[in-house]
């Protein structure tokens, strides 16, 4: 039996050798020797991982093997059988259990000396006091909304008097053979909201196409999902993970497709359209998660220059050979989260307020699903409280220029329950 590894010297020899040895790319001013105390700081810092899914499982493994000892992980999801092709900390017997709990326990078991605290809940369940305890946040999320919330929270937490309030955020994302890594130093470098238009929502199929002139199998599935389900209510509420519900939608879509002689409706396509499934594989998650953790290690140890103040974005494309694009994304002065100016919002003055409200959901630079709108002098539409909603509801029918008297360049403030801390400022630009 080999000697025990109590002090970890032997175990961490590769990592520590590199950390102790200066390389040609370390800043020349940094001539201090790396002392054992400095090596220890990594083990003393606390790092937060958001998501214990495809990226999250990899991130937990990578951070544990990068010398981080205090890790927290938040994920509200439970394990599904379709996770097993990539979320390698889970087994078939784990299906139905909490992702955060199973992942944390697995990595703790495998890597001696690491403490991982799981939180089986939503990120919105915690307040700033909770997030203040971390030195860094690494996100492996599949939801843009959760990223925006986390980003806004971290930007709002920055207090210029207190350097510890600045938490670098490293964000990964994947789709098929592609992915990206972003590093944000909140308030100092471009934030996730600055880059919102990179994630334009897909244009929705017009309702009249679904209702009267379907042409594609997707149109039949959306018809079953949006129209037939509402009309027939076969179950009290739609559970997209319940095979019985998906089967109901599939059958509805299929008979509609037959009526119009449209080929191509399958169970798998139905599931894909209804759940908006994005293809995901182990290898892409491995690439992006490791890239995120490489940046985390570099930021935490200064072992080499990290992404952030110069280049801050790496995109990876693996479907046609391999291509990476590493570049500097610029900060936006009209960013709703970290900027000070309002953004232009193109609207037709003949629109009703309802049309403006609807357009905010699909507008790439807004992406707000439940907006409330006011100007500095009056409330145009408020969803909450109910009394105010009822009072402002008649405005929805009125047109912007004639009905509500709004002028070109009018500033409006939009709020949305998904981002309680934020007020999105726009000025109207008439088309």
């Amino acid at each position: 039996m080999a000697a025990s590894s109590e002090d970890g010297t032997a175990r961490w020899q590769y990592l520590n050798h590199i950390r102790k040895t200066k390389g040609p790319f370390n800043p020349p001013t940094d001539d201090e020797d790396v002392t054992p105390e400095m090596l220890d700081t990594l083990g003393k810092s606390t790092i937060l991982v958001i998501g214990a899914g495809g990226l999250g499982c990899e991130i937990l493994k990578n951070l544990a093997l990068s010398g981080f000892k205090n890790i927290h992980v938040i994920d509200m999801d439970t394990i599904d059988i379709s996770n097993l092709n990539r979320q390698f900390l889970f087994r078939k017997s784990d299906v139905g259990k909490s992702k955060a709990e199973v992942a944390a326990a697995f990595v703790e078991r495998r890597v001696q000396g690491v403490k991982i605290t799981p939180h089986n809940c939503r990120i919105q369940d915690f307040d700033e006091d909770f997030y203040m305890q971390f030195q860094m946040v690494v996100c492996g999320l599949d939801s843009i909304e959760a990223r925006r919330w986390m980003n806004a929270t971290l930007v709002n937490m920055v207090d210029e008097e207190n350097p510890d309030s600045l938490k670098p955020m490293i964000d990964g994302g994947t789709e098929g053979f592609k992915g990206q890594t972003r590093v944000v130093f909140p308030t100092m470098t471009p934030c996730i909201e600055c880059q919102l238009d990179l994630y334009a929502p897909r244009a929705a199929v017009p309702l009249c196409t679904l209702a009267t002139i379907p042409r594609q199998p997707e149109h039949c599935i959306e018809w079953a999902h949006i129209i037939a389900w509402e009309q027939e209510k076969p179950f009290p509420s739609l559970d997209k993970d319940d095979p019985e519900h998906i089967t109901w939608l599939y059958q509805k879509a299929l008979s509609r497709a037959e009526e119009f002689k449209i080929p191509g409706v399958t169970y798998s396509l139905t599931q894909g359209v209804v759940k908006n499934i994005i293809p995901a594989i182990a290898s892409t998650n491995a690439i992006i998660a490791a890239s995120c953790c490489n940046e985390a290690l570099k930021i935490a140890t200064s072992a080499a220059p990290a992404l952030g103040f110069e280049d801050n974005y790496m995109s990876y494309h693996g479907d046609e050979a391999i291509y990476t694009n590493t570049f500097k994304y610029e900060k936006k002065e009209d960013c709703a989260v970290c900027g000070s100016l309002s953004k232009p919002l193109e609207v037709d003055p003949r629109w009703t307020l309802q049309e403006l409200v609807d357009s905010l959901a699909t507008n790439a630079s807004a992406q707000l699903k439940k907006p409330s709108i006011r100007t500095d002098s009056k409330t145009l539409y408020m969803r909450f409280p109910q009394s105010l909603e009822e009072k402002t509801r008649p405005n929805l029918e009125k047109t912007l220029r004639e009905g509500l008297g709004l002028e070109e360049k009018q500033e409006i403030a939009v709020t949305d329950p998904a981002f309680p801390a934020l007020s999105f400022k726009f000025f109207l630009r008439f088309t």
Binding site: Q13, K22, Q112, I213, I262, E320
Partner: protein, 526 residues
């Protein structure tokens, strides 16, 4: 309506199987055919050094369900392994690394078979392992490797036409190199859907032309609803015919003519409606640029044709037979077989379905013709019609990997770098490859030893500032792997292995270098 439904056989409403559920997110990328190829793959990893990058690669292949893997590794697990390799734990100390990693990898997917060598601590005869094992689909080896083992693998690769992947990860750097056995053709390259659209607007076949003519012959008499639902394909065919009448039979393929043509189409929309325009006409205007152009042969396909003619192809696989048949087809018709897809467009359901049927029928007819040509060629008797269909559908995007022989070298890379400020291109990562490969057999070499080795290989490189820096950074690692860099490299190698095994998407040609300091890659042919 009820009648239609009743008259058809009720669909078989089987839900997905357990395996389809488990692999759902990847089947959406490479489908059942790709999955079947993975499941019959048998992969060898010859492991060494810190031993992490190869094991991380295998993890990303075991999860999606390769058939079988073997690890050859003489190392015995030490404390240092536990700080870098996730597929080992305390109980493995003092045991064979090959066996321990195999067992922990197999936990990830009970469908995958794992094997390891040596069976007992000591040395392993790689020759013997290769001789005794079922044929490998792909072999990966990590640095450092002994010259003897390297020679054995290269010989095996040549004999069995097995792709070899060399992987080297040290400190913040890595590279991997793929040696494919000869020219490697790929049909199912998965181009972006919008690139594959071929509407044949400039060269409609008779049925399509007739369909458009019938729909538009009394266009002005159509009511607003019908007029607003004429598919844009029909609109463009109609206005192209009218254009030709006034332009000596010429098509608007030149830039200026295209602008003018777009204007003509835009102006023909009815505007006396509440929307003040028609969506189908807007779609038509938007489709002009992409769809009205001279038919040209994609350069990748031209390469296939000339390669086929060059006599470089000794083994007449079905790929080359079908390529030959498509070349004949192209010579005869002046165009490729029709892919047959039709994008969505504003139209009445029944009209759209009819139009879609026209495109599909033409594609089937073209494919049938290619099949007949193929069967008439030598070696073409057993060509499979499904393979011909796929080839016809993808003909413009078929790709040859490893077809050229010219390698990129330092001189070319330095020339590019000297222009980098003007071209805004990032600097070459070739120096990283030079420095890393100088430690192929000697992982812990000193800076001076690495520089000397680079000098003996490429005297011109040794004084280059960026090469010197790369040598210093490689020496800094002293052969040690960083887990993140090896995990990232393992992800890239696994993606490439999947592309090679499934013959889908496009693998690199042939070396990928990763710089974990600047966070970027470069692919070079070396």
């Amino acid at each position: 309506m009820t009648e239609i439904v009743m008259s058809q056989t009720p669909p078989i409403l089987h839900g997905p199987s357990d395996k389809e559920k488990k692999y759902d997110r990847q089947l959406r990328l490479w489908a059942a055919s790709g999955q079947a190829a993975l499941e019959s793959a048998n992969i060898l990893l010859v492991n060494s050094g810190c031993g992490t990058v190869g094991v991380e690669t295998l993890k990303n292949l075991v999860l999606p369900g390769i058939g079988r893997f073997t690890i050859v590794d003489e190392a015995v697990v030490q404390n240092a392994d536990l700080g870098v390799n996730f597929f080992l734990d305390e109980t493995c100390l003092g045991k064979l690394r090959s066996k321990c990693c195999t067992e922990l990898l197999q936990e990830l997917n009970p469908d995958v078979q794992g094997e390891w060598f040596p069976k007992q601590q000591g040395t392993v005869e790689l020759d013997q392992v290769l001789l005794d094992s079922p044929t490998y689909t792909l072999i990966m080896y990590t640095m450092p490797i002994s010259p003897k083992d390297l020679a054995a693998l290269k010989e095996y690769g040549q004999q069995h036409h097995t792709p070899l992947v060399a992987i080297h990860s040290a400190g913040f750097y890595s590279y991997f190199n793929i040696q494919l056995p000869g020219t490697f053709p790929i049909v199912d390259t998965h181009p972006e859907a919008e690139r594959t659209i071929d509407l044949r607007l400039t060269k409609p076949w008779p049925e399509l032309a007739q369909f458009a003519e019938e729909m538009t012959k009394d266009m002005d008499q159509l009511d607003d609803h019908e007029h607003g639902h004429l598919p844009y394909v029909v609109l463009l065919l109609h206005y192209l015919e009218k254009w030709k009448e006034t332009h000596d039979g010429k098509l608007p393929t030149e830039y200026k003519a295209k602008l003018e043509f777009r204007e003509t189409v835009a102006k023909s929309a009815r505007t006396n409606n509440p929307e003040g325009g028609e969506e189908n006409f807007q779609e038509a205007v938007a489709a002009v640029n992409r769809n009205i152009k001279e038919q040209t042969l994609e350069s990748t396909l031209a390469e296939v044709f000339s390669h086929e003619a060059s006599g470089n192809v000794n083994v007449k696989s079905s790929f080359w037979v079908i390529a030959g048949a498509i070349k004949e087809f192209h010579k005869k018709h002046g165009c490729l077989p029709l892919p047959g897809g039709l994008p969505d467009m504003k139209a009445q359901s029944s009209v759209y379905v009819k139009l879609q049927g026209l495109y599909k029928a033409k594609a089937r007819k073209d494919s049938q013709e290619v099949l007949e040509i193929a069967k008439s060629l030598s070696d073409g008797r057993d060509v499979d019609s499904a393979e011909v269909d796929l080839f016809c559908k993808n003909a413009s995007f078929v790709k040859l990997v490893n077809a050229t022989t010219g390698d990129q070298d330092l001189k070319e890379q330095k020339a590019n770098d000297s222009l980098a400020e003007v071209t805004m291109m990032p600097l070459s990562l070739f120096p990283i490859y030079l420095a890393l490969s100088a430690t192929t057999h000697e992982p812990t070499a000193s800076v001076d030893q690495i520089k000397a080795s680079v000098h003996s290989r490429l005297p011109a490189a040794a004084d280059d500032m960026r090469v010197v820096q790369a040598c210093e950074e490689v020496a800094r690692a002293a052969g040690g792997e960083l887990h993140n860099i090896s995990a990232l490299t393992g992800g890239m190698v696994a993606q490439e292995a999947i592309k090679i095994i499934t013959k889908q998407y496009i693998p690199i040609d042939n070396t990928c270098i990763f710089d974990g300091i600047a966070s970027r890659c470069q692919v070079l042919r070396l």
